[in-house]
Symmetry: C2
Subunit: 422 residues, 2 copies
């Protein structure tokens, strides 16, 4: 072992000993012998979650039955309020007011609601020609795909501009600027306040996808004056596989918002069973079908834990982790092609490296118990969920990476290319 | 106790002793001292579900982490296949082929997809004027509401015709006939084959909402030549509160189907991360966002149990239960205003009664441990989930009902009107 490697290994132990968040690792279940660098795909399991699931399944569903929808019947379960309650808990993590966020549906569905809402907003303001939805090529696919259904019928036009050309693409046709705050592949972060202002100056509304930000980076939707946002419950919020998403609409839009998924849970009085839809006055209007109670319960447990740790401290540790990982890589003498911004202030809680052999390397790492991610066609993506990773994990992962690359271990048959997963 | 009441009480015991499904009650968790007549709102908890939830949460999520999405990584979890696998298990319950059903999103969202798909179908066939969505007034609200978003933009026109006038309302403007097979309030069942044929003869497609049928009544989508269907996972399928819904599209529509919620899980190759949407060729194209794994796992457990019991036997018992309940009511000399069809062959697994005091009566029954449902403005709805109810429950519930009404117990202060729940 070189002196440099010994030094970072020792430094890892010092950093862990001094880490104020170190104790939170024990609040998560993590398998032995695994270094988990994919919390940005699926967050780890909070130890409180199995108990919460048992409560909602056995007590609230099994014993409370239908009564658990109403507080007054269930002694506190209150499933009707769950979507709003979880939303209110997510709100402070993203700089929103509690009444501006609700947990519902998926990111994809929520994007669709807001794209429609932006088009409706401009029509209502006499500007029906604003039908362009502006995003960037290579945005997370579902974000771009959700424009296409409306494009089929001529309701929207898709425009993709590279991130350095977005400002000039904001012309009078743009209804909505729709961007992902931290890029899923590179982790590069947009200047939310500046781009929101640029869009507003051009007469457009703004929709932020916070899937790779929420729970890891500070987000200030209110400070940026953002219009709409949505994000994922199963990444840094540790809500479990396929957790419900959340939706944010700035309060100023509530009274005029129009979205097409007008299901009964978004009705002002769902149990009047009227033939005519009347949207709920507040953020509840963004609900559509019946709330997914089991998924919301797991999400709530994850959100509670992340909120307890605090986004400010998580962000600080996130930057320290990724910076230290790069130190470790350098100590091993690895010369990697970093595609993430080298300044930790400019990226999310991840590092991505370009390599023609990225898939095989990621598979060889998994075989060693280092679970990262591959992103087509050539990206090795390593996520550093700050709530439960140690500095020692950084040193360990860098060591494995060095061995995989230097030994040519990635060339082994079993690591050839096949489909991978977010 | 009158002779008639004694007789039905004794008869209940005989019927339970002879009931081939009696042993399945023990496969569900049911609270002591409760007669649960609301399984048509929220099905009871299968005893297998807590174990399944523990498996998916602690083993698949906690230990398997991101690997559990892929079969080859997880040793069998295979979350990617879950939506299709659960759909394939629901298929035989509704007369569909396994590759025609998928579990995803909510009933409301799936209705929206199919309304759009019907409109697109006619446009593609050069019949763009067919934009009327025909339903009946008083259909379950969300069914009607989901037309309204598209109506805002002139893409669809809503037409509601009373059920005895539907045939004549099927003119050349109708794109889609959208009906609920068993009515949520009255339980009245449509003749699926006849109405599907009438709609097809008039050039329209047909969408069936099976929320109050699936798992309790035989449904033959294939025999009826239906186009689209959706239904609820949390009623007779016992999938838990807010369970994912299912969506059916006849195989003949798969290659031309167009729906606007084009999320990444509906893509032919989600992990190619292409900027352009290309729908999956099969039923997977109806997926949108990431699969709700926790909800799907609970749903799968419920579906497995209902499929094991078998819809044919469930239907037979369902009819026997509701017929016996009416016998018990008659034995008590109660003269109730039945709004459900009196012929059990014409109704779903429920009986609904009209009373100006329906809300207070339902509350007084709940206070006695008989959980039924109130439906605005004046309906007492009693559901007879055949998988776990006994004939003795029928006799017991009728007895409580008689006491509540005859004693005037429902007039007590605590039972005054307030919001109720599906």
């Amino acid at each position: 072992m070189s002196d440099a490697v010994t030094a970072v290994s020792q430094r890892a132990n010092e950093l862990d000993a001094a880490d104020p968040l170190a104790r939170y690792r024990d609040r998560f279940t993590l398998p032995e012998d695994i270094i988990y660098l994919d919390g940005n795909s699926l967050g780890a399991l909070p130890k409180a979650t199995p108990g919460a699931m048992q409560r909602v399944v056995e007590r609230e569903w099994g014993e409370g039955l239908i009564r658990s929808w109403n507080d007054e019947h269930s002694g506190g379960a209150g499933w009707f309020d769950l979507a709003r309650d979880v939303g209110a808990k997510i709100a402070p993590l993203i700089g929103a007011a509690p009444e501006e966020v609700i947990a519902c549906d998926t990111v994809s569905i929520n994007l669709f609601k807001f794209i429609w809402a932006a088009l409706a907003h401009h029509r209502a303001n006499g500007d029906a020609n604003r039908t362009v939805i502006l995003s960037e090529p290579g945005n997370f696919p579902t974000d771009i795909y959700m424009i296409e259904g409306l494009e089929q019928r001529g309701l929207a036009r898709r425009r993709l501009a590279p991130r350095d050309r977005i400002a000039e693409a904001l012309d009078n046709d743009v209804a909505l600027l729709m961007l992902t705050h931290a890029h899923y592949k590179t982790g590069e972060v947009f200047d939310m306040a500046a781009l929101t202002k640029a869009a507003h100056d051009a007469g457009a509304l703004v929709l932020w996808d916070l899937s790779h930000s929420t729970g890891a980076l500070p987000v200030d939707l209110g400070g940026a004056n953002a219009d709409f946002a949505t994000g994922c419950g199963y990444k840094y919020l540790c809500g479990g596989p396929g957790a419900p998403a959340f939706a944010f609409a700035a309060r100023r839009h509530h009274s005029t918002l129009s979205q097409p998924l007008t299901g009964w849970f978004g009705h002002a009085r769902p149990f009047a069973f009227s033939d005519d839809f009347e949207p709920a006055p507040g953020i509840e209007q963004l609900q559509c079908g019946t709330s997914p109670v089991l998924g919301l319960t797991a999400l709530e447990t994850g959100v509670d834990l992340i909120a307890e740790i605090g986004v400010g401290r998580l962000y600080e540790k996130s930057r320290a982790l990724s910076e230290f990982f790069l130190e470790c890589v350098a100590a091993h003498g690895l010369d990697l092609d970093l595609v993430s911004p080298s300044d930790s202030a400019m990226r999310g809680s991840q590092l991505s490296f370009r390599s023609a052999n990225a898939y095989a390397i990621s598979q060889a790492l998994i075989a060693r118990g280092v679970i990262g991610d591959f992103r087509d066609p050539d990206i090795l993506r390593l996520g550093f969920a700050p709530a439960y990773l140690r500095f020692a994990d950084m040193a360990g992962a860098a060591g494995h990476l060095a061995q995989v690359i230097e030994s040519g271990e990635w060339r082994a048959d079993g690591f050839s290319k096949r489909a991978a997963v977010t």
